[in-house]
Amino acid sequence: MNRLFLNKVVLLLSTVSALIGIGFLFWILITLTYKGVASIHLSTFTNDLVEGGIRNLIVGQFTMALIATAVAVPLGVLAGIYLREYGGNSKFASATRTLSDVMTSAPSIVIGVFVFALMVDPVGTFNGWAGIVALAIMMLPIIIGTTDNMLALVPQELREAGIALGGSKHKIILQIVLKAAKVGVTTGILLSFARIIGETAPLLFTSANNQFFTMDLNGQFPSLTVSIYNLATYPDAESRELAWAASFILTMIVLLINLAGRYLTRNKH
């Protein structure tokens, strides 16, 4: 009887933990929605930060994240291809795989420090390029890992069939193998984009922030996340409201991209 009681207790505790976990999700989402929606006006989207809106911040955040993606995706996919298709189990390939894998979990603030040393300190001013590089560095190892893993799932027979038809190696990789792994790689790109679009720490002292609308990547660049950090700690109610509005929009963007990524691979799991 004792065993059965213990069993019930543990199962109950597990269920309670699960409810706690899901409870937090709803608590966070509900407060965000409640606070966010109440603080959103049309002017939130049409004004720049200096006039109490987030137009320039959204544009700035997306500009940096998209350019970072444009840099990181080709490099990451190529590196992933090298590791899986050319490197095999060579020492260099396995070392790169290891280091890149560790980098996926590296503290993002340290990446900010690194980029500051290379791209802000020498020129003496925060700049959008530095923010882009920091985000690209965050993204690169994730893309490499995904590509590497997805290519590994492509059956070897497919490569052999390509070679048997007389294709050259790089054509087979680009036209057959990569195509077969397309869904997985795309999902990886989407999920890593969702991750960098919500990053704050690597931007704090690389691109910093800008109250005005600008497309000049050589100077301080507007950021939604950095603005949330600043606004939330200002004492006035208006700043806080704007911070809630910005947080709500940011979270929706991140969650939607995530769900889109999941939708792409819905049949794979």
Binding site: M1, R3, L4, N7
Partner: protein
């Protein structure tokens, strides 16, 4: 042994079983008796429902909610000396009690990630036996009963994962035997083993029937004919024919049985 001396220990009556979400039952109106200290083989082509039927006998299906049982599976109770329907058991402790009375051996050996000794002692400890001397005795007895004592006695503290497949399977049998079950269910116990290990397991099963009633699902018709006293031929969820093994193999009543036995399909 004359027929009238046979004692039924289990009786499946009008059993239907439906898997979660399945449109129709996998087992349809199954009827079957299992006799004490006999080996009953369940044969039939893949997907015929033989494993499903076996897994109903200890209600292991209950782990995956959403299934449906209809009909009866009656088990002879030594206490009340009556047949009792195991499909009526609801409480967890009743199911646990049932599984201690009806053991099960799976297709692949399933040693737990612990030492050889602890594997065998595990079920005993669950029953509340803590005394070291008592456990030692029972573990030794079970290992001897499963014909693995010689190979295991000097490495009781070693991980069971290090044994060969055939040894692991005998260890799993020892683990079940330790609980002194009334019935042991074997679900294709040798299909993952080499011929020599298979021979050892078959010999062990024949030996075990002196103490324990056995039901075995097998793909291998030679195994069924070598080993069993009774055979049940199943097809598409129906029990096509049930009877003494000799009769089923030499003189089946149904054309379908004959076709399967003679290898015309399978």
């Amino acid at each position: 042994m004359a027929k009238n001396e046979l004692k039924k220990v289990m009786e499946v009556k009008n059993l239907f079983f439906t898997y979660p979400g399945a449109p129709e039952p996998t087992l349809k109106d199954n009827n079957l008796s299992i006799y004490e200290n006999k080996i009953t083989a369940l044969i039939g082509p893949s997907g015929c429902g033989k494993s499903t039927l076996l897994r109903a006998m200890n209600r292991i299906h209950d782990l995956y909610p959403g299934f449906k049982y209809e009909g009866e599976i009656n088990l002879f109770s030594r206490q009340s000396e009556k047949m009792e329907n195991i499909l009526e058991l609801r409480k967890e402790n009743e199911l646990i009690g049932l599984r201690q009375r009806i053991g099960m051996i799976f297709q692949k050996p399933t040693p737990f990630p612990m030492s050889i000794y602890d594997n065998v002692a595990y079920g005993l400890r669950l029953q509340g036996i803590k005394n070291k001397g008592e456990l030692d005795g029972m573990v030794e007895e079970a290992l001897k009963g499963a014909a693995i004592w010689k190979e295991a006695k000097d490495r009781l503290k070693e991980s069971a994962m290090g044994m060969s497949g055939g040894q692991q399977q005998r260890l799993c049998i020892a683990r079940s035997v330790a609980l002194k079950p009334e019935i042991l269910l074997f679900d294709e116990p040798t299909s993952a083993l080499d011929p020599i290990s298979t021979g050892a397991i078959e010999e062990l099963i024949s030996e075990l029937k002196k103490e324990i009633t056995i039901a075995i699902v097998t793909h291998n018709m030679q195994q069924a004919s070598r080993l069993s006293d009774y055979t049940t031929f199943m097809y598409l969820g129906d029990i096509v024919e049930f009877g003494e093994t000799e009769k089923i193999f030499l003189n089946p009543e149904e054309k379908l049985t004959e076709d399967y036995i003679t290898g015309r399909f399978g």
